[in-house]
C-alpha cells in the first residue's frame, strides 16, 4: 500500500515561504512525477514527504496515518538520490543489505532479497565490488536495488537520471518504468526534464514557485494546459505564443500553438515569415521563423523532407482545433 495525502502542507525557510499550503493526493500504485523549473520547490516537496525536512504546516498522511512528525526511517519510504548516495566503503552487497540490516531482517531473508534484486537489476556479477568501481548506470541500479529490498510503501526518486549521459538516461528511464509495471508500487519522481515526465508518469504535477500549476495525466496536460506556464513547459519544442491583433481575432489575450500543429508550405498559408535556423533531425525538421510580425521567433515542425532554407519565405497555417487560448491572467479559455 502507498497512498500519500498532503493536506495544506507548507514549508518556509526562515521568513521565505518556498511552498505555500498545498493539497495533493497520490494514489496507491501511481507513478507520479513532480516537474518544474529548478527552484520550483519540487525537491523540497519530495524531501517533506521523505521526512528529511519538517513541514512548516499541514499534514502528511501515508495510507491514512498521520506521518507529519514521523522520522524518515519510520515512514516506510525508500529514496533514490541524485548522487545515488551509495556508501563508498561498503561493497554493493553490503550497500543493498544496509536498510535490511538496520531493520534487523534475518540474514537468509536478506540474502534472498539481495539475490532477487541483483537478478532483476542485472547486478549479480558486481555484488562484491565497491561503488567506486562501477559505472554511472550500475551505481544507479545499486541505488534502486537498495530501495527495492526494503519493500517500501513508496519509492521516492530525486532527479535520479541527471548525472547520467544522454544514451544511458533513455535506457534507465525504461528500466524504471518497467520496474514500476512489475512492482505496481507507488513512485514519486522529481525531475526538471519534461520529457522524463511525459514518458514515465501516470500523473504529472507541474510546480512553479512552490505552487501546483496543474495535476493530470501527460496527455491531459498536453491537450488542455490549464495556463500559459503549463502550456509552455509541457511539450518540446515549446509552444509558440502570439499576442496582440492576431490573438484578438480569437477573442483571447494570448494564443498558443504547438510547432507540430502548424502546417508548412512554400507557396501559401495563413501566416508568412522568413526561415532563420533550420534544424534537420531526419524524421522532422524544425524551422525557426522570423519576421512574422506576431512573435519574435516562431518554431514550426515540418516533415523531414521539406525543401526550405535559411532566408526562404515560409507560409504557415495553424490547425484551428489545436489553438490554445489564454486570457490576460494567463488562464486557459475554453
Amino acid at each position: 500500500m502507498g497512498r500519500i495525502t498532503l493536506d495544506k502542507v507548507s514549508k518556509s525557510f526562515g521568513d521565505v515561504e518556498v511552498i505555500p499550503p498545498l493539497d495533493l493526493t497520490i494514489e496507491d500504485g501511481e507513478f507520479t512525477v513532480f516537474v518544474g523549473p529548478s527552484g520550483c520547490g519540487k525537491s523540497t516537496l519530495l524531501r517533506l514527504i521523505a521526512g528529511l525536512e519538517d513541514s512548516s504546516g499541514g499534514h502528511i498522511r501515508i495510507d491514512g496515518n498521520d506521518a507529519t512528525h514521523v522520522p524518515p526511517a519510520k515512514r516506510g519510504l525508500a529514496m533514490v538520490f541524485q548522487s545515488y548516495a551509495l556508501y563508498p566503503h561498503m561493497s554493493v552487497r553490503k550497500n543493498i543489505a544496509f536498510p535490511m540490516k538496520m531493520a534487523n531482517v534475518p540474514e537468509d531473508e536478506q540474502n534472498r532479497r539481495i539475490e532477487a534484486a541483483a537478478i532483476a537489476l542485472n547486478l549479480s556479477d558486481y555484488l562484491d565490488r565497491r561503488p567506486g568501481q562501477l559505472s554511472g548506470g550500475q551505481r544507479q541500479r545499486v541505488a534502486i536495488g537498495r530501495a527495492i529490498v526494503r519493500e517500501p510503501a513508496a519509492f521516492l526518486f530525486d532527479e535520479p537520471l541527471s548525472n547520467l549521459d544522454a544514451a544511458l538516461r533513455v535506457g534507465m528511464r525504461l528500466e524504471i518504468s518497467e520496474l514500476h509495471e512489475r512492482l505496481q508500487t507507488t513512485m514519486i519522481y522529481v525531475t526538471h526534464d519534461q520529457v522524463e515526465a511525459m514518458t514515465m508518469a501516470d500523473k504529472i504535477v507541474v510546480l512553479q514557485a512552490g505552487v501546483i500549476e496543474q495535476v493530470g495525466s501527460p496527455l491531459e496536460l498536453y491537450r488542455a494546459p490549464r495556463n500559459k506556464f503549463v502550456a509552455g513547459f509541457i511539450g518540446s519544442p515549446k509552444m509558440n505564443f502570439i499576442e496582440g491583433d492576431e490573438a484578438a481575432k480569437f477573442n483571447a489575450h494570448t494564443i498558443g500553438i504547438r510547432p507540430e500543429h502548424i502546417d508548412v508550405s512554400d507557396t501559401e498559408g495563413q501566416w508568412k515569415g522568413t526561415v532563420g535556423v533550420a534544424e534537420h533531425l531526419g524524421s522532422d525538421t524544425f524551422f525557426h521563423v522570423h519576421g512574422t510580425g506576431m512573435a519574435e521567433t516562431m518554431t514550426v515542425r515540418a516533415p523531414g523532407e521539406v525543401n526550405l532554407r535559411h532566408g526562404d519565405v515560409i507560409h504557415m497555417t495553424p490547425r484551428k482545433d489545436q489553438i490554445h487560448k489564454f486570457d490576460a491572467q494567463c488562464l486557459r479559455i475554453e
Binding site: 521526512g51 528529511l52 525536512e53 519538517d54 522520522p71 524518515p72
Partner: protein, 288 residues
Amino acid sequence: MATQHSRSAARLMMAPAVVLLLGWMLVPLIMTLLFSFKKYIPLRGGDLGWVGFDNYIRFVTSSAFWPSVSATLIVVGGVLIITVIFGVLLAILLNQPMWGQGVVRILVIAPFFVMPTVSALVWKNMFMDPVNGLFAHLWKFFGAAPVEWLSQASLQSIVMIVSWQWLPFATLILLTAIQSLDSEQLEAAEMDGAPPVKRFAYITLPHLGRAITVVVLIQTIFLLAIFAEIFVTTQGSFGTKTLTYLIYQRVLESQNVGLGSAGGVYAIILANIVAIFLMRMVGKNLDA
C-alpha cells in the same frame, strides 16, 4: 536544511564540546580576574582582601615590567622577521625543480617535531656551551674567543633557538601557498616581459601576502607564550624574562598570585588583540 529532530540532536551532540570549552575558558578566566583584584599570597596569609587596581598598577610599575616587555618584543619580533624572510626564501628554493625534493622537505620540517625541551637542551649544551659546545670549537678553530652565548648574547640565543623551531612551520605554510600559485600567471607575466625579480615582486609576493599574515598571527600567539625554551636555558636570567616568564615567576616562584594574575590579564588582552585579526581571516575563509 534539516528537520527539527536532527537540529535538536545536533544541539545535543555539540553540547559536550561547547560546555567543556566554555568551562575551560570561563572558570579559570573568572578566577584570574578575581585574583587580580586581590592581595593574594598563598604562602604568606593567603587571601588578604580586595585591593582594586593595585596589582595592575604594581605589575606595570615594577622594575621588571619594561625589560620584560622589551624582551618579549625582541623575541617575538626577531623570530617573526627571521622565520618569515628565511621561510619565503626557503619555500621558493624548495619549489624549484631538483633531485630529492621530498627528502629535503623532510629535513627542513624536522625541527618542528622536536619537543621544545629537547631543542632548548640540545642547543644550550651541545652548541652554545662556552667550553664544550660546537660553536666554541668552531670559534676556537678560527682563532676567536668562544662566546658565552646564553649570558653574553642571551636574547639573541633564544631568538635563534626559537627561530630554528618555527622556521619549518613558516616554510611549510609558505610552500603550500606558493604551490597553489597558478603557474600560468607566472608564464603570462613572463610573456609580458617581466624579469624574474619583478615576477617575484608583483606576482609571487602578493600571492603570499595572505599566507605571511597567517604565519605572523599564528606564530605571534605561540611566541607570546614561549616558556620551555627559557625555562630550560636561562630560567629568565640575563634579560630573557619575557612577559610570560615574568608572570610565571610571580605566580609560581614568588607565589604572588594577585600580582601574577594582573599580569595574566594583560597577557590575555594582548593575545586577544592578535587573535581577533586571526579569527577574521579564518572567518572569511569559512564563508568561501
